[in-house]
Each structure stands twice: as structure tokens, then as C-alpha cells.
Symmetry: C2
Subunit: 150 residues, 2 copies
């Protein structure tokens, strides 16, 4: 892939400007696991209150988590993934599959993601054409898109 | 997804321990674009020499980039993606597709990734079953894998 465009015009750079910090994506992962309360994020991640509050605020500000009232009469706030947040499934899955493959190694995966309906593991994410066939990495090419500044 | 396992046993956490920093994945993205030389990474990313040297060293240490001799009589070192590094295509693609969808918005993508053979854009990454059908997010479930410590 060759590049011939300006830095601000890259979705990877823009996405990393939001997530380019270990805690931020770990909080998102934790939210996917069903964690909703401040104290639970704190305990499960072993993160300081101060850093957690900042990162949660950052994720709310960027529309990835939403604060919702919970408990009797809305006495407590919880955090839940928005649509924008839930759409990070592929990002988290790609990171998990890479880590399983290259850090733990095949046959040593600590967790498997299965389809609840069949109990079978999901497939590895692959780059595909519209007809479903896989595109080999060497055939991927970057071209200016419809939003290119000119 | 519910969790019932220990932190060290999560591939997302392990992967983020390597990549949980904006520059690290931007350097990888840059390497995918074909950048190989220190001075080119520096100029294209607008990163300080000091930080770049550390992050490149970190990526070499983790086997994602390799230092190769280049130029006449190996007078110069260049950096290239290893197999482990090239296998980050899905991670970078998932980040790009998320950013295109939620930051730029449909129809405003600054770049498109196409299949060189057909010139057509690649599909959005989807979580699939072995038969190729898509698994809806609500059907994804985490289970202990073969490498679970017990």
C-alpha cells in the first residue's frame, strides 16, 4: 500500500486519536464483557480511580459509552456501549485473534468466542471482496476516497 | 459477553500491552503503506526522533518489524514488517472501517481500500461462522479456551 494523502485524512489516525491508549480499549473490552459500574471497572481492570474517571469521561465525550441512570430512583450511574461503541466488535475481535495467534499460539487460546446458537468458534476475520472471496494482503491498495480533500 | 477469567489470560490485554499507544500502531500503519526508513517514518508521522527510535525498537523487540540492511554494502538500516506484523492487517482494517463509519461518515471516506485485481472496495469486516454466515453481536459468547489455566 502506498500513501499519497495528508495525515488528517486517515481513519486509522483518527480512530487512534480516540483509542491510542491501552486503558481506553481495555475499558471498551470490559464494557463488551458486560461491566457497567465504575467500581466494577476499577476492580476488574486494576486501574486507579483518577485514570478510570478520565478515560470513562473521554469515552462518553466521544460517544462510545453513555451514562445511564440506574438503581432505585436513578441513584447510581452506569456506563453502557452506544451503537458507535458496539460497532467496535471487529476492532476488539481483530486484536483478540492477533493476540491468540501470535502471543498465546494455536491451541493455547485462553478464551474462545463462540456463536451462542451453535456453540462453535467464530471464524478468523478476513479481508473479503463483495462476493465473499478473500483478498490476499498483496492485492490490497489504497486509493483516494470520496472524502478526499482536493 | 460475560467474563470469568483472569486478566493475564486475555489476548486483547496482551495485544494492547504491545500496541496500547497511539504511535505504535501508527508506525505499523505507516509500514503497511510501504515506509521503511527512519527518516521517512519521522517525516511522515511528525514524530520526534527520540520517541520514534524507542517505538521502532519496541516493535523490533516484539517481532513486528525487522531491521534489514539496505543500501550499498548494507550501509543503511531499514524496517520491514515480519509475518507477525503483516498479520495486523485485520486490526488496521477494523480501525480504519470504524473511523470511516463513525468519524468521517459514509460517502466521506478519505481513502478506500480496494482489491487491486478488480479495483473494487473491500467489504466491511464481519464476524462469521465457519459456513460464512454472519454472527450477530448479541450471539457472541466468551468461553474458556484450550489454554485456560485451571
Amino acid at each position: 500500500m502506498l500513501r499519497d494523502y495528508d495525515e488528517p485524512d486517515c481513519a486509522v489516525a483518527k480512530a487512534l486519536a480516540i483509542f491510542g491508549d491501552r486503558w481506553t480499549l481495555l475499558i471498551v473490552r470490559e464494557a463488551f464483557f458486560g461491566t457497567r459500574r465504575f467500581a466494577d471497572f476499577e476492580a476488574r481492570l486494576g486501574i486507579s480511580k483518577n485514570v478510570l474517571a478520565k478515560r470513562l469521561g473521554h469515552l462518553v465525550e466521544h460517544g462510545i459509552l453513555a451514562r445511564v441512570e440506574a438503581g432505585r430512583y436513578g441513584a447510581r450511574q452506569e456506563y453502557e456501549l452506544t451503537s458507535r461503541g458496539k460497532d467496535l466488535t471487529a476492532v476488539i475481535t481483530a486484536l483478540r485473534q492477533w493476540g491468540d495467534r501470535w502471543i498465546f499460539g494455536e491451541g493455547n487460546e485462553p478464551l474462545v468466542v463462540v456463536d451462542r446458537a451453535t456453540g462453535k468458534p467464530i471464524e478468523r476475520l478476513r479481508i473479503r471482496r463483495a462476493d465473499g472471496s478473500e483478498v490476499p494482503a498483496r492485492d490490497l491498495e489504497m486509493r483516494p476516497g470520496p472524502g478526499t480533500r482536493s
